[in-house]
Symmetry: none
DNA sequence: GCCTTTTGCGACAGCTTTGTAACAGTTGCA
DNA sequence: TGCAACTGTTACAAAGCTGTCGCAAAAGGC
């Protein structure tokens, strides 16, 4: 269906818009631009983007209001919205997320961080494993039915263990650091102890061992974990 | 282990400097700032950074001249320099690299791209960081899976031995002094006995000997060690 | 050949990293 | 409400790795 993901950037200030647009294009995204909330709504109706970058302060229809509207309609609800705000108060962060925004960036923000957040949101919507069937060795993970089999035997995993296994299976053999796993499995801004990863790997191993022999997860001392 | 890498940013225009500085900090780099070439030289002498971001246009001592100077002195030659330029002609690109700059970015540049280039350069200096596959003779080291094979046989290395081998394999034939190895494998600020290197080379040799015949590591009496 | 310097390497104590059970807090649901 | 499943943290033990020492062996120097 699509090549690169489509990003809708809604920002009224020209300088900001150009800087962001430049970096988004350089990242290889297909770009849609809107200066006002109303304009954004038209574009969304016509060409639904994969993700929306939304400035908080907009003339006419404010970003926060637009976001609320989007999250009300079922056909646009699924599109992730990343809010960009000049204000940094905690209140705003909470309010921003309350309106249904999926993530939130406060100026001055790091472009690299923003790009990372965009990528995280995109991964959420079109994750490599969503609807995909991952196979490796005697393992089989179905992203659509959320079922996992080992050597034909179905095994029961909790949500976190499922995502953990899916992440490892996306790139079999590759070593993931605990930080990378926290990032991909738990999410960027959640703070959890590094060691929590170990515990979940342990749980995953236990579940796997009940369906087949041998440990498919490799511990790489000093670095992290890998599949196979 | 090693702390975060130190980046020296030399840029006279405040707006540019602040934007870059912000993004570099957000990436977790330790940051040194200089506004002029002369200032940069002082800082480099005092606290050698891991990498230098250098604006082409600088008052007093121009970026290109500073770069040439740095590449002349042996003690600063190894520090990678990434030039930032306002002009985009091919001529300049070539000239920039001719002066010894390791990479080159033309304004307007994507911050993400710049960061990527910085990381590439850092990886060159700090070994074994990324997913490179190094091969030499019957040896094969995969940075992504952290696996090492000799003549097809997998061998098990501890983290330090792995990094040591990776360092040697990055420049086969080159003789590394014990100090250089301590610097690259153990990290700049850790103090360990010089002789510790010998012990680890010994361990590495032992591990290698279990997978194949012949010692691929050469001892250069009075100097250090080299691969092949 | 003898003496000096340098390197190889076994041994070991101490340390860091990892595995795992236990526990308390949460959430979702009947 | 109570229950069941799941989560994150902690503490402790086990495993594995590290750095240093000491002495033997090797390599030069003369």
């Amino acid at each position: 269906m699509t090549g690169q993901p489509t990003v809708l950037l809604v920002e009224d200030e020209p300088a900001q818009r150009e800087a962001l647009a430049y970096n988004l294009r350089a990242e290889g995204f297909a770009l849609l631009l809107a200066e006002t909330g109303a304009e954004a709504e038209l574009i969304i109706a016509e060409t639904p983007p994969d993700i929306i970058l939304l400035d908080w302060m907009l003339p006419e229809l404010s970003g926060i209001e637009l976001c609320r509207r989007l999250k009300m309609r079922p056909e646009t609800r699924a599109i992730p919205v990343v809010m960009i705000s000049a204000r940094g108060e905690e209140v705003d962060r909470v309010r921003g997320l309350e309106t249904g925004a999926d993530d939130y960036v406060v100026k001055p923000y790091s472009i690299v961080e923003l790009m990372a957040r965009v990528r995280v949101q995109l991964r959420r919507v079109r994750p490599a494993s969503a609807g995909m069937v991952l196979e490796h060795g005697d393992l089989r993970l179905d992203g659509e039915t959320h079922r996992v089999h080992r050597a034909g035997v179905e095994l029961h995993l909790g949500p976190t263990e499922f995502r953990l296994l899916a992440t490892l299976m996306e790139r079999p053999g590759r070593v993931f650091t605990r930080e990378a796993l926290l990032d991909r499995v738990w999410g960027r801004d959640i703070y959890v102890e590094t060691r929590t990863v170990d515990v979940h790997v342990g749980r995953l191993r236990k579940a796997l061992s009940e369906a087949g022999a041998g440990d498919p997860i490799r511990t790489v001392r000093g670095s992290g974990y890998a599949l196979g």
